[in-house]
């Protein structure tokens, strides 16, 4: 029959193989063959010429299935993965649902708080915060100008929603990422385990894990987009915390040891302060990356500027898409400049 038949015969597996049929849905190639051979029956009766060596197919699941019915096809394998997920989902739900619930609460709470605050309080508040963090008049002017501009073109509400989501997600990223980064810097094993996971988080297409998550949580839960943003944006803060602590001068640590500091004192009194510029750079990158996820998050019903971008794409309303895209860039620039200015102040105070 098929090309790998001989192997199964020599291995003495013919009986095991013969249990199930080797058929599958007819492929386009087989149909074409029928069409070009002037009748399916005639083709089936003709003696089979040998397959040329160069065209030997790779012994994949589908190819082997043709020789041996007991070997599952690739589509059986993928549906088994699906089955498997659906079987464990109830167990997963019991664990993951309560664990991630605070994220939903915080996102919803912050969204309503940001929106309930009227603009004439919110904008001065943001200005004050910017000035306190950056002590820079030019950054303050940029922030004020941007928000006044967005409010003027009626994008203020969307921008505030986006800002609120980024605010909550950044808090979670820092609260989780800094301890993970510290643990990584303390243990080489931990670092070896974590780095591949971080690489995966940055490359895994978001929908690959978001769609299974919808089976676990309700699609209406805000934590869905929260998780999507956090998993992607947490990476730089972990990496740079790890790097920052590892870069602390050995001599300084030696001096701390000489003073008889215990490891907690060393961490809080020496390593973290010295690593702070790196950690802040990580936080800055984390904020940038959560902004990058805003549009994708809107695909799972996150409010904000991403919704407008999607509307622009779906309806081919180029203007809507371009203007809201520009507002996202504006938010990115002002968040970047404010955190950079804050970082600059920390660096200056170190010297």
């Amino acid at each position: 029959m098929a090309i790998y038949d001989g192997i199964f015969k020599t291995l003495g597996l013919s009986d095991w193989c013969a249990t199930e049929d080797t058929g599958g849905p007819m492929t386009m190639a087989e149909l074409l063959a029928q069409a070009n051979n002037g009748g399916g029956e005639a083709a089936a009766d003709a003696p089979a010429p040998a397959t040329p060596l160069l065209e030997t197919p790779f012994p994949s699941l589908d190819t082997l299935h043709k020789s041996c019915g007991s070997i599952p096809r690739t589509r059986d394998m993928t549906s088994a993965v699906e089955e498997g997920f659906l079987n464990v989902k109830d167990g997963l739900k019991v664990v993951l649902d309560p664990l991630t619930q605070p994220l939903s609460w915080l996102l919803d709470w912050s969204l309503s708080a940001f929106q309930a605050t009227p603009w004439f309080i919110m904008i001065p508040l943001l200005m004050l915060l910017t000035y306190y963090a950056s002590r820079s008049w030019s950054v303050l002017a940029l922030v004020t100008g941007s928000f006044v501009f967005m409010a003027f073109i009626d994008h203020y509400n969307y921008a505030i929603q986006t800002l609120s989501i980024i605010f909550v997600c950044t808090i979670f990223c820092v609260a989780l990422g800094v301890p993970i980064g510290i643990a990584m810097s303390k243990s080489n094993t931990m670092q070896r385990i974590t780095i591949p996971i971080l690489d995966m988080l940055q490359t895994l297409p978001t929908f690959v894990y978001l769609i299974p998550l919808i089976f676990l949580f309700s699609v209406t839960e805000s934590k869905l987009y929260g998780i999507a943003i956090i998993l992607y944006a947490i990476v730089p803060v972990i990496r740079l915390t790890d790097l920052g602590i590892r870069l602390v001068d050995k001599d300084v640590i030696e001096a701390a040891d000489a003073f008889g500091m215990n490891s907690w004192q060393k961490l809080t009194g020496v390593q973290i302060p010295l690593a702070l510029p790196n950690i802040m750079a990580g936080i800055n990158q984390t904020i940038m990356m959560s902004l990058a996820m805003v549009v994708i998050a809107s695909l799972v019903s996150a409010p904000g500027l991403g919704v407008l971008v999607l509307r622009g794409i779906n309806n081919l309303e180029l203007g809507v898409g371009l203007v809201s895209g520009f507002c996202i860039v504006l938010l990115a620039v002002l968040l970047d400049r404010s955190t950079k200015a804050a970082l600059g102040r920390i660096n200056a105070s170190e010297k």
């Binding site: 074409l32 065209e55 769609i211 799972v300 999607l310 779906n314």
Partner: protein, 319 residues
């Protein structure tokens, strides 16, 4: 099986000689299940029956028409849901495109759907009055289309007209079609309540049996107003059966009248399409395999679509 494999390699080489009179044709493949079947069946008929060199362009409703209006390509846009394509009328009037016919002869069915197991347990949910009276049976949540879909405005207007929120429903707007489909699947896995907008024929409705909620009679004027975001007086009207067309560019029709004539005949009933999609779902098959399934089992249907000459070329498959 080996014979078939070998024959397949021969078969793949053979059509190259057949590209004679037709030339290159581009056809859209919309990003949903029934469209993929239509495209694969059409591709096979054009390649094998007419000797065309077919390029499949993955696309969706709005971008495909935008591409046609800006660049004149792709040549053929099939499974075009007119209701969701605002630029269709303008292009039709400008003479850029020619409508060939209904690719789904029964039209597309849009509306509000409820899982059939819910209707069996609570028969009163089959009508909108029953739905409004029992929000607690439906998780008090209506699943609306994502922003940017034509149905979003219509559903928002209907929700206002039926006073969904006043009856205790929360209207949840999805961010994308993927999450909508997944929420249906998740509801079925957990046997939970679900009510929202969807459309048939789709693989989602092929896989999960759902019942259309009776929204009362259809009123074209009210419906047009509901669909228009500028129109403020929302009214009650069910969805009309949506025309699903195949269109080609005017230049393509002039240059390839026989291909256009064949594409005008390509038309599936909802029963035929539903059968193919259900088979595809049951066998975990690809769209191409689903097209092969249709082609190998329904030669009486598609042999009526093609010219005598093409019938001669495909005689081996016609039973």
């Amino acid at each position: 099986m080996k014979k078939l494999l070998v024959a397949a390699t021969l078969g793949l080489a053979a059509p190259a000689a057949a590209y004679a009179d037709c030339g290159e044709v581009s056809i859209t493949e919309m990003n949903w299940a029934s469209a993929a079947v239509v495209t694969n069946v059409s591709k096979f008929l054009m390649e094998q029956g007419y000797g065309c060199d077919v390029t499949v362009v993955p696309s969706s409703t709005v971008p495909s028409l935008a591409s046609v209006s800006e660049t004149g390509k792709p040549d053929i846009v099939t499974e075009l849901w007119i209701n969701g394509a605002p630029s269709y009328n303008a292009l039709q009037e400008a003479g850029t495109i020619v409508t060939l016919g209904d690719v789904l002869s029964d039209g597309g069915v849009e509306g509000w759907w409820i899982p059939t197991y819910l209707v069996e347990a609570h028969p009163e949910l089959a009508t909108v009055e029953g739905v409004l009276a029992n929000p607690e049976l439906l998780d008090s949540r209506f699943h609306n289309c994502p922003d940017g879909w034509g149905c979003k405005n219509i559903n928002a207007a209907l929700a206002e007209a039926f006073d969904l929120e006043g009856n205790g429903f929360e209207v949840f707007q999805h961010g994308s079609g993927e999450t909508m489909a997944t929420s249906i699947a998740a509801a079925f896995e957990n046997q939970e309540p679900w009510i929202g907008y969807y459309w048939a024929p789709t693989s989602v409705l092929g896989k999960y049996p759902m019942t259309l909620v009776d929204l009362g009679p259809h009123d074209p004027e009210v419906h047009a107003c509901n669909a228009d975001p500028e129109c403020e007086t929302a009214g009650k009207s069910s969805y009309p059966v949506g025309p699903v067309k195949t269109v080609v560019t005017t230049t393509f029709q002039e240059e390839n009248p026989d291909i256009a004539a064949m594409m005008a005949n390509v038309s599936f009933t909802n029963a035929q399409m539903g059968e193919v999609l259900a088979w595809q779902e049951a066998n975990n098959a690809s769209a191409e395999e689903a097209a092969v399934h249709f082609l190998s089992n329904n030669s009486d249907v598609w042999s009526g679509w093609i010219s005598e000459e093409a019938k001669g070329k495909l005689a081996a498959l016609i039973k």
